[in-house]
Amino acid sequence: MFQNLSERLESAFKNLKGEARISELNIANTVKDIRRALIDADVNYKIAKEFTDKVKDKALGEKVLNAISPGQLMVKIVQDELAELMGGKEAEFSITGNPAVILIAGLQGSGKTTFTGKLANYLKTKKGKSPLVVAADIYRPAAIDQLTVLAEQIGVDIYAERDNNDAVAIAQNAIKEAKAKNKNVVIIDTAGRLAVDEVMMTEVANIKAAVGPTEILFVVDSMTGQDAVNTAKAFNERLDFSGVVLTKLDGDTRGGAALSIQYTVNKPIKFVSSGEKMETLDVFYPERMAQRILGM
């Protein structure tokens, strides 16, 4: 385990004493160390490679003698690069439109339904909105009940049709209902699906086409490993989502999937979810995430 990358880099740089600049040769082991730390944090293998190559290029030629601590200089280069990658885009969240329509999608068990509740709660309490949550998961046992319980907890209305097995129609009907009841935000919770499930991917693409969402959020479990890249790519190809939600950050995962996803699809992380309670929703802090991934 890479408990403290800083310390490791520090010791790696001990051999650099007396050398004035970072060179291809004297940096090789350090770059390898960083790469391993990233992979250990579940950053995708190929991306970790590309990323560290980039960092290496930035570091080459930097004067190490003048820096108080060459290890820290290297860490700083890595961190800056990481933070830039993750925070490069301004992560605005749009709730304009009448109603604004937010479509929630992702793999099974990633935290979509819980997030739907959290987002509705946030928009209601922090933004003065009047949300309608929509149960468009017609597959998972008790999916409607689950969203109903959450909606009740936060005091938000829910739209569900227990006997309709057409998720697209349910979503469309929900928007009509929202208009009739003066709800200004509609949040559509969908069933979990695998990217390789053609029928299910078509369904969610059809929901998108039918309701024209203001925002499409891709919900990802922060514990996800190397597969994050495949999944993010596939969902993005079908949905061209507008943002990412990282869940279960109350765990101790390093969360390298966050880096992999941003690197792959270049979409901003708009929210992070860190708990089962409805209040545990936060905006995304790139620097914090960078430190977490590096295990610092």
Binding site: D221, D227, K248
Partner: protein
């Protein structure tokens, strides 16, 4: 493939394949070292021979369960009822796996009973109830928010009274770094033992196949609290490989018994080492 010597390039490709399957750096290096030890570098080894070596070395990491009757959904005769406690972090597939397991035990002619000890997550009891109806087995439940230990106790007593052969208890998803929630699991276990002292006979840790290196930490923490005896790896119907179980097997010696390959009642398979290792090297797309 195509290469006839085990050189740097072959080893690099192997490293990429293993790491990309979530095996993790440490275990990957271990495996590569083993391969290197068996074929001195640059010595002629046909690609078929290399694949065989790989299969062998990786399969050797995966431990077998001491008792094999689970393969036929049979239970040891001296353990009646056979009690399975199902644990894991949030959303990995515990409840679904329980539904599938119950179905398989029932098909094998066993009297099964379910205990709904997740009284926390919204509609968790409703979800397990639907599974119990699908399978056609009884369920013991209480109101949401009630003490999960009390539900477990009720379930055990009901199992004794009915003469059930298999008891499967669902628990709420919990992150392993939350001490109070982990303590609660320990308590559920002790309550079960009040009724059947040598139970639970199986503590099944469910892992999401798409989880990366954190699964190893999960396995360590859940084992520390509840002595995990077996693993189920879910969601292997996608492109994720679940390679982190190699690290878990090598460090904790816990056998994988089941894999989940879908959301339907029949989508549970008995873990097959050979197929699993094979799939680690199948490239997606």
């Amino acid at each position: 493939a195509g290469k006839s010597t085990v050189d740097e390039e072959v080893l690099d490709n192997l490293e990429e394949a293993l790491v990309s399957a979530d095996v993790g750096i440490e275990t990957t290096i271990e495996i590569i070292k083993r391969i290197e030890a068996r074929v001195s570098k640059d010595k002629y080894v046909g690609s078929g021979e290399l694949n065989k070596l790989l299969q062998e070395e990786i399969e050797a990491v995966l431990v077998d369960a001491p008792e094999q009757s689970y393969r036929n959904f049979d239970t040891p005769p001296d353990k009646k009822p056979y009690v399975i406690l199902v644990v894991g972090v949030n959303g990995v597939g515990k409840t679904t796996t329980i539904g599938k397991l119950a179905h398989n035990y029932k098909k094998a002619g066993k009297q099964v009973i379910l205990g709904a000890a997740d009284t926390f997550r919204a509609a968790a009891v409703d979800q397990l109830t639907i599974w119990s109806e699908r399978v056609g087995v009884p369920i013991v439940k209480q109101a949401m928010g009630s003490d999960p230990g009390a539900v477990a106790f009720d379930t055990m007593q009901s199992a004794m009274a009915r003469g059930s052969e298999v008891v499967i208890i669902d628990t709420a998803g919990r992150l392993h770094n939350k001490a109070h929630l982990m303590d609660e699991l320990g308590k559920i276990k002790r309550v079960i033992q009040k009724v059947v002292p040598d139970a639970p006979h199986e503590v099944l840790l469910v892992l999401d196949g798409s989880t990366g290196q954190n699964a190893l930490v999960q396995a360590k923490q859940f084992t520390a609290t509840t002595d995990v005896s077996a693993l189920a790896i879910t969601k292997l119907d996608g492109t994720a490989k679940g390679g982190v179980v190699l690290a878990i097997a090598s460090q904790l010696q816990i056998p994988v018994k089941y894999i989940g390959v879908g959301e339907k009642i029949d989508d549970l398979l008995i873990f097959d080492k050979h197929e699993f290792v094979d799939s680690l090297f199948k490239i997606a797309e």
